[in-house]
Symmetry: none
Subunit: 240 residues, 2 copies
């Protein structure tokens, strides 16, 4: 491993175990250079990249500090939560709570274009970051499009990964809400008491039509959504 990467690893571990709390000062470029017996430019690179990743913030003339830790995902880019966690250098794991076929509730039926009470697949998964629940994923899947969904092993692959392979994504629809978690959600997200949660409702489509409807619920303290939007034309602000 490259030297600058080793320094990054070290710093990330310090932050992770809490040795360097949020907003605390981290070693300066010169201090790191000496500790790791590298040049200042190499130490600088480690600090620089962690800053670009939003792990640190720096102020000229003052120092480098640990940023507030909140995870961030993109609305636009539909990312895989497992990748996201691993990109942060944290341990991703998942707990499969349920994977069944059940009669389709009315709301789901209309969202997926199915008949009520016809079979629909349902999966319930908790995504964890360093063994801390990050997101509860409840997902309904159209069995006509993805008949093998129910026989997958979702401990090693997220539903999103699998679905991307089987039914290439052509369209997605989102709704974001701030909600009170119900008791069931609290329990599985290991929330001691109710706190505001983000719920992202996502309906995805392939060429053949609606594929799945997912409810992704995350505690507001542990998760946030981020997005980046580029406008190619200068004048599309009409719709804004």
């Amino acid at each position: 491993m490259a030297k600058f990467a080793e320094i990054k690893e070290f710093m990330l571990s310090q932050i992770e175990i809490g040795a360097w709390p949020e907003h605390s000062r981290v070693p300066s470029e010169n201090e790191l250079a000496e500790q790791f017996s590298v040049s200042r430019m190499t130490a600088r690179r480690a600090l620089q990249e962690l800053t670009e990743q939003g792990i640190l913030y720096r102020t000229q003339g003052v120092g480098s500090f640990v940023a507030a830790l909140k995870s961030q995902s993109s609305l636009l880019e539909i990312r895989n939560i497992a990748d996201e966690v691993q990109a942060r250098g944290h341990a991703y794991s998942a707990r499969l709570l349920q994977l069944t076929e059940l009669p389709c509730p009315t709301i789901i039926a209309s969202a997926l274009g199915l008949q009520r009470n016809n079979p629909v697949f349902f999966s319930l998964i908790v995504h964890l970051e360093n063994n801390l629940p990050l997101q509860l994923e409840a997902r309904y899947v159209n069995p006509l499009q993805v008949p093998a969904y129910i026989s997958q092993d979702f401990s090693h692959q997220t539903p999103h990964q699998y679905l991307s392979l089987i039914a290439p994504l052509t369209e997605a629809e989102h709704t974001v809400e701030a909600i009170w978690p119900d008791d069931f959600t609290c329990k599985h997200l290991m929330l001691k008491k109710a706190e505001p949660c983000l719920r992202l409702t996502r309906r995805t489509f392939s060429r053949e039509g609606a594929v799945s409807l997912a409810y992704l619920t995350s505690p507001g303290s542990r998760y946030r959504l981020g997005g980046h939007l580029n406008f190619s034309l200068p004048n599309n602000r009409e719709r804004i």
Copy 2:
């Protein structure tokens, strides 16, 4: 402007005018270094940063190339809240709480590319639907780009409408969080007791750089965000 930034500007302009089409090769580190009379490390930095921004891609031993343009994503179209309310057939109104110039806090400074404690414009507005508070908008505006911001009348035009006219939007960045409102927010949103709120943090850019940073806070019971995303190609989920 720093030298590496000048090189970036130049390269961006070449790409923008089409002189360097997608997947075409761009000058190597050494070529740029010579053309601009800088060291290879400085030229490298320009290439590096453009790569991190997804403008270029590079392959060791081969060269640097122009990346494919991002697929136009119309997700989370930035709507004007006034239009949104009126589209529902309801009465829109706004209450201007504050419109001042103040010394720029550190976080805002880094977000807008300003110097700390230099002047920045700040506005605080409550948006109401049928006289019920719908959203609290706290906005910091870059005075270098929008010097007349402070003398606008925001009772008949939202800041967003005004900014769209003055500084055409080229880019936006979003973060969505579920938060506890503080006392101040509760008061102005007329929340009897604390309830989960959605906070959309939005940073907008024009060609000249960051224009404004807005914190838009809405009660979860009264507001939600929706979006729609189209993928033009079936297989663009890789490069995302």
